[in-house]
Structure formats: C-alpha cells, structure tokens
C-alpha cells in the first residue's frame, strides 16, 4: 500500500502520522511519502499563532464541531507528558472580548473553566463591555510541525520537495491512495470555487510578561479582523488581519499599522515590546472543510484521493479530528480492497 500525502502543513503531517500509527502494523506493507512544495518554516501553519479556538458560530457541518473537540481532547491528553513543550503544546488562559453581550460559544464545555468576565476584569479593557475567560491550549505551528516531522521520520516516512502538477502524475508514479492536504493551494490541483485565501498578517514580539491571550471580536467587521494577542512558547503573536481573496505574500505596511495600533490600544504594555518578526499567511477559507473521498481513473487502475483541505483559520484547532476521519476513510478503502489482513506473526 503506497500512500502519498500532498502537503506538509499541519493537515498533511498529522494525517500522515495518524494513518501510519493506525495501519502500519496491520498491513503487509505501508509506504507513506509526503510531497510538498513548502516545508516548515515556510508553510501557513508556521504563521498561525496556534491557539485552539474554533469560530464562535456553529459550523455548517456538525462533524466539524466533533473534530474540534476530538482535537482538544487529544492535545489535552498530552498535557502531563514531559514532552508537551517539545510538541509546542501548553495550556494558556485568556480573554475573549465583545462590545455587547453574546451567546456562549458551542465549545464552552470543551475548553476548561469557561466563565463570563467579571466587571473588574472588564475594567482592564475600556473598549469592551462583555467577555469570556477560559483555559485553552497553545499548539505552536512551527514546533508542532518539527515534532510531527521527527515522529514521521522515526517511522520511515519520506519527505520529498516536489511541486505536484496533477493527481494523475502522482497516481501514475507512486500512489495507491493520495491524501490531498494542499490547503489554500488546492485549487491548482482541482478547481474549487468554494476555496479562497483569507490573508493574514502577524507581528511576533518579545513580551514575556504577557501570559494570557486576548481576542477581541467585532461582529460587524468579521472574524480575525479585530485585534488579537496570543502568547506562544517564546514570542507573542499580534494580529487582526483577514482579507478574503488577497494573494499578496508580502507584508503590508498599512496592515502592520492596523495590527500595532489595535494591539497597543488593547494592551498598553506592548508599547515598548521588541518586534521579533513579521509574516503573512493564507488561511484556506471554505464554507466547510472538504473531507471526502474521490476516485480517480488513471489508465486502467483506480487511485483513491482523500481530500482534506479548507480548514480556514482553525486548522490547528481541528486537525486531529480530521486526521482521524481520513484514517477512517482510509480503513474503509483497505477493507474494500481486502488488504486488512493481519500477518500471522502479529496475531
């Protein structure tokens, strides 16, 4: 069984790991390769601040809520391991701020200690009059990708720097099953009018006194268009940019000013924080995640493609649930092909 995962962001690498963990010992042979044009630190995952937090409104596909929860629980089970920090994983608490009362989010019982903000807490944020406090998790993109790469390498998964032009090319050459984790660039392999870039720009600063995340919401402007401050393992990410349809990969000075002014207004202590880096990324925005199977007829054989892309700004938040779902679909493919045979030595 030859599997090629296209894409080496959090979706590609976690899906590869999930499949290998589950099926390596029940298949006669499982060969997994990752093809990608960009590897860490050049993926969109590397730009993400890494806070586990879904969008506020219920997803149009109820499965996504389940995948978010599965991811949180999976990550939480690693808290308490001495290696959590190596994964880029740590608990973090903080504030979600609003200008008026809003209903509780559907994930309030997934995170820990969810509650409303008290008046004294709200006094800290004069522009906001309502909010939540909860404990969530940070999963820093870069560290997590490095960790996933190590785990995959240990398992003999190979990585190839390769620009894939078509599924057919991969099918013809190397793969029985292709997992399409190409994120925002999926349209290049198969047109998808539902997929759009949600351009984001962030500034990373040195502000080690910031122990909490602070996320503001402006329902009129939309998600991620309002300032947010998210501490990572070392640096603090400042953001608040979301531009649908903008493919510009370079940092924009107006966006820089928007972020800086917005965040310093929210948190005056940032005034003198040192800027460590600034980057741009593209959230793979889609009305819902594309997670489904498709059969390709290449020559005389059938190659299975499992699509797993379009996770918007909640890729890290939902990644493991999606990986599990892909693994389930993969298992079904194996069953259909009568490949799920246990070698006698494993019984």
């Amino acid at each position: 069984m030859r599997v090629v995962v296209i894409g080496a962001g959090v979706i590609g690498l976690s899906t590869a790991l999930c499949i290998h963990e589950r099926y390596h010992s029940v298949l006669q042979s499982l060969d997994v390769k990752v093809y990608a044009e960009r590897f860490t630190p050049l993926t969109n995952t590397d730009v993400a601040a890494g806070l586990w937090q879904p969008y506020l409104s219920k997803p149009s596909n109820p499965q996504e809520a389940r995948w978010n929860q599965q991811t949180f629980n999976y990550l939480l089970s690693h808290i308490g391991s001495p290696n959590a920090a190596d994964m880029g994983l740590a608990p973090v608490s903080g504030y979600n701020l609003f200008r008026e009362a809003v209903p509780d989010p559907y994930w309030k019982d997934v995170v820990l200690g969810f509650r409303k903000l008290t008046p004294r807490e709200l006094d800290m944020f004069p522009d906001y009059s309502y909010g939540w406090f909860n404990t969530s998790l940070i999963l820093e993109g870069r560290k997590y990708l490095q960790w996933l790469t190590e785990r995959l390498t240990e398992r003999g998964v190979k990585f190839l720097l390769r620009k894939v032009e078509s599924f057919e090319e991969v099918a013809r050459g190397d793969a029985d099953v292709i997992i399409n984790c190409t994120g925002v660039w999926a349209g290049a392999l198969q047109p998808d009018p539902l997929l759009q870039p949600g351009r984001g720009q962030i500034i990373k600063v040195d502000a080690p006194w910031m122990k909490h995340f602070i996320i503001t919401h402006d329902p009129e402007r939309g998600i991620y268009k309002s300032p947010y401050i998210i501490p990572g393992i070392q640096a603090v990410t400042l953001g608040g940019i979301f531009q649908l349809g903008n493919w510009s990969e370079t940092n924009n000075i107006q966006d820089h000013n928007t972020i800086w002014e917005g965040c310093c207004r929210l948190e005056p202590t940032l005034k003198d924080a040192k800027i460590v880096s600034e980057c741009t990324g593209f959230r793979p925005v889609r009305p819902q995640v594309r997670l489904e199977r498709e059969q390709l007829h290449v020559g005389s054989s059938n190659t299975e493609v499992i699509h797993n892309y379009g996770h918007g700004g909640y890729g890290l938040t939902i990644h493991w649930g999606c990986a599990l779902e892909v693994a389930k679909i993969f298992g079904k493919i194996l069953e259909e092909r009568n490949l799920l045979r246990m070698p006698t030595s494993h019984l």
Binding site: P82, A90, V92, G113, F133, W209, K211, P268, T269
Partner: protein, 344 residues
C-alpha cells in the same frame, strides 16, 4: 526644630518595605527629606529572591479586616501598574492559575477571594490535571518581581528628591544626629536594631528556571510546593525552614524542589538554566507597624517600625507602607507642633 522646617526622615532597609515606605512618605508628608539607608540593595535583598506572587498568608496576630485592607490596597496599586505602559519596567504582570489541595480545606473561600480576579472553585475537568488533589481554586492575580520593582521604586524615590545611602546601621541611635524620624524597615535586622526576639527567619530555597511555556501558576495549598511563571524565568519552590539562617543553597533541597514541581507540572523536566536562590523570610506572628519614641537620657528619637511580613511581604507591602507613612506623618506633625516645655 522649627515648626516650618524640613523634617529629616531616614528609612533603614532597602527591600520592598524600605523603598515603598519611602515613596509613600514622599507622597504624603510635606516638606520632608527622605534618605534610604541600607547595607543591601537590589538585587541582594530578600525581596529579590521572593517570587512576588500576590497570594497572601495569614498573620495570626493581625485582624483579618486589616490584612484584607492591606492586600486590597497593594493589589489595586499593582493592578494599575500592570495595566499601564510601566508594567514591564516595574516588573508587574497578571498571572492566572490554580491553588490545589490534597484534602478539602476548612476555608474553601479565603478572605482575599474577592480581591483577586475571577476567583472560583476548579471544575472536575480542571482537577483531572492533578490526580493527587481533590479540591482547587482558580483565579487571576498579580506577580511583582523584586529585581525590576525595587529599581523602579528607587527611580521614583530619586525623582522626588529622595537620597540613597549604603551603610550598615548597628544601632538606631546612630541616626539621631542627622535625622528627626527613623523608619525601621530592616526585616530580620530588627532582632538587633529593635531588640525584637519575636522576629525569626523562615528559610526559603527556590529555583529560578527557564520554562517559558509555563503560563500558569500552580500552588499546593500547603504552600510548600509552587510554580510561579514570571517575566524572564519561572520560580519553583520551596521550603519553609523555621529558625534557619543559612543563606547557601542546598543541593539535596534543590533536587527535592525540582522533583515536587515536576510531579505537578511534568513539562518542567525540560526546564533549563536552573539557578538556586535562598531568602530568609522575616517572620513574625504579626506585622509590626507602630510608632515608638526611643528615649536615652534627654535624647528622643521617634521611630516607626514597619517589618515582620514573613511570606507576605510583596503581597502586603503597599497597604502597610501607606499605613507606615501615615504614622510617619503623625510623627512629623508632632515635631512641628510647638509644645510647652513641660510636655517634653
């Protein structure tokens, strides 16, 4: 001394008490000169070793309402700094976390619960992280770090004309000639300077480590084991050794601290750049905050004592400093009020 003259005030001790009292005095008492005199300055004071978490202890000899007032005044003062642009300079930050107990405490809601932010009981899910513990409190409080806060106070003091002198004082009477009022913030030094045998050291050993992924404090309700993330390091503690004056770190104790803290937070196995520190908490059944008129023959020396905060120094400092400053103000008033000779 002429009624309208400058009152010369000396503060002995340059830890958090000495410096904050000096600053409060400069704000409260008109026409005075303030000199802080100390043998040790930051970063060599006890206040520099303290983690500086605003989680107050209980002083058996002090009424609870007073402790609550002192804590609230300190919290409010530092909270304002934490939300200002000075936070980094002053070494003040907001930290959330958990205080956990191996058995249900008699007092589930302590007197300071409504002073800190968002105080509540931990949920079942939150307690799962601590399998050895059955009860917990979650809240947000402040951390005030000596190595930044003390220099920040010094800067404010100098800005208002205060002076700083390095000198070891063996006897408060040494100051009689040059000063009108003495404020004694000498902590454990008061055993000698004030003949106070009620004050004794409670030795605390801590580790300051690099573990920047730790964003929450964790404190075992017994107070013996704690993890306090700060601006540039995480403080792991600790010990409470009564009557122990030894300022040298003990390697076995360090091992024990690391092991106890790793049990609460296993990711600390990856902590590095571990530095051992020792501080002697100036412990007393209650904070000594009172005036005393020292007399020797015909000489008189008004003294305001302000010491004995044990493990609650940083947590209570501003409230007690304000009170000490009020006592100093009373002494200054008395000095300025012309009295008939028969009253002396």
């Amino acid at each position: 001394m002429r009624p309208m003259g400058t009152v010369r005030i000396a503060t002995v001790g340059a830890g958090v008490m000495g410096l904050s009292t000096a600053v409060c005095i400069s704000q409260l008492v008109p026409r005075c000169s303030i000199t802080v005199i100390s043998e040790q300055f930051t970063p060599e004071t006890t206040s520099d070793v303290a983690a500086g978490m605003l989680i107050p202890p209980v002083y058996p000899d002090t009424p609870i309402h007073k402790q609550k007032q002192w804590f609230k005044e300190t919290f409010d003062h530092l909270f304002a700094i934490a939300n200002s642009a000075e936070a980094e300079d002053a070494g003040v930050l907001l930290v959330s976390g958990w205080q956990i107990f191996r058995s249900i405490p008699t007092e589930e809601v302590p007197f300071w619960a409504d002073v800190v932010l968002g105080f509540r009981k931990m949920t079942e899910d939150e307690l799962k992280k601590f399998p050895q513990h059955v009860f917990g409190q979650a809240f947000t409080t402040l951390k005030c770090e000596g190595p930044a806060y003390l220099p920040w106070l010094e800067k404010r003091l100098k800005g208002s004309g205060g002076l700083i002198l390095t000198r070891r004082i063996e006897d408060l009477w040494e100051l009689h000639q040059s000063f009108d009022i003495v404020v004694n913030c000498s902590g454990l030094g008061s055993r000698q300077l004030a003949g106070d045998l009620k004050i004794f050291p409670v030795r605390g050993q801590v580790l300051k480590v690099q573990a920047p992924w730790v964003k929450h404090f964790i404190r075992d309700g017994s107070g013996l084991t704690y993890i306090y993330p700060g601006i540039s390091n995480v403080t792991l503690g600790g010990t409470r050794q009564k009557g122990d004056w030894n300022l040298s770190p003990d390697a076995e104790i360090s091992k024990g601290i690391l092991s106890r803290c790793c049990a609460l937070e296993p990711s600390l196995h990856g902590a590095c750049d571990i530095r051992e520190k020792v501080g002697l908490r100036p412990s007393r059944p209650g904070v000594r905050l009172e005036k005393e008129l020292l007399a020797q023959g015909s000489r008189r020396l008004p003294v305001v004592h302000h010491y004995g905060h044990g493990s609650g120094g940083i947590a209570m400092h501003w409230g007690t400093a304000l009170e000490a400053a009020r006592l100093v103000s009373e002494c200054a008033q008395a000095l300025r009020t012309p009295v008939p000779k028969s009253k002396l």
